[in-house]
Symmetry: C2
Subunit: 151 residues, 2 copies
Amino acid sequence: MSETIQGLAVELKQTFLDYLASKGLKNTTQRMIILEVFLEQKSHLSTEELYLKVRGKNPKVGYATVHRTLKLFAECGIAAERHFGDGQGRFELVHGEDHHDHLVCTGCGLILEFENPQIEELQEDVARQHRFTIENHRLELYGLCPACASK
Amino acid sequence: MSETIQGLAVELKQTFLDYLASKGLKNTTQRMIILEVFLEQKSHLSTEELYLKVRGKNPKVGYATVHRTLKLFAECGIAAERHFGDGQGRFELVHGEDHHDHLVCTGCGLILEFENPQIEELQEDVARQHRFTIENHRLELYGLCPACASK
DNA sequence: ACATAATTGAAAATGGTTGTCAATATAAAC
DNA sequence: GTTTATATTGACAACCATTTTCAATTATGT
């Protein structure tokens, strides 16, 4: 199991390196630190949160660099930026083609992911009805998780 | 047809006035102007956009007042605030219980509304599976409208 | 009309994000 | 290994939408 997780990390790292090379960008110490810390964390971290984690490992890395690097992650497809209504962007790892949506607890901030192919199909029906060419979508369900609901 | 639209406007106005009374808030000239202009416009206006429209009718109304009044509309349930990824909140009229979602054109900014009870049901299934108590949700499909796709 | 409390508008503050720029580090060429 | 051209960095400032502040004004109940 830990092998597959490591394998994933290596693969994402390679994707990023390839992207840098293809754009004539450079592979720097900071970018590697930020990528490693990003891969270690659970998903849905804000720039601020990741910045603090990165600082813990190397205090010389600046906020702007973390921000710019996260944008690069998004550009090369290994991360996606999301907004959950708290006014700040959050970044999540993207693995392959599978799309997922989110359950967000308005009590404690817990974010769960889910997939539902049936919903995806119905979305495509809606798009077809309106002759829209869908590029992406987002679906978020807001409410209380079991723990918060029982309080 | 124009009777039902007018009827709706009267009803929403009354809902707002009732809300003000119930909270010990006051019915002011500005609030009435802002509500009237809001009802005249098509939905999904940003604070800035509504502010400019209100200014056209009465140049003395300030931005902060428009903003605070829109928040009041949202509180009393006649409007809802949405975010479509362009970094600013947009407000839409709420009529009754019916929920709707959005198709957003990434080319021209067109926003279409749609309803799909089947999707809503599936969402409830997902919530049940995770024992979440859903308060609200949002679903947005981003892509190109027919006009933009054919360019 | 009076008193009490809410509202207003202008301006400043806030918070997240993005831009600037001189100093530094990288990758390729020599 | 050195040189050269170019990208990157970090500290800071700028930005934009939103929110707060506060003295002056206005609305409502008595």
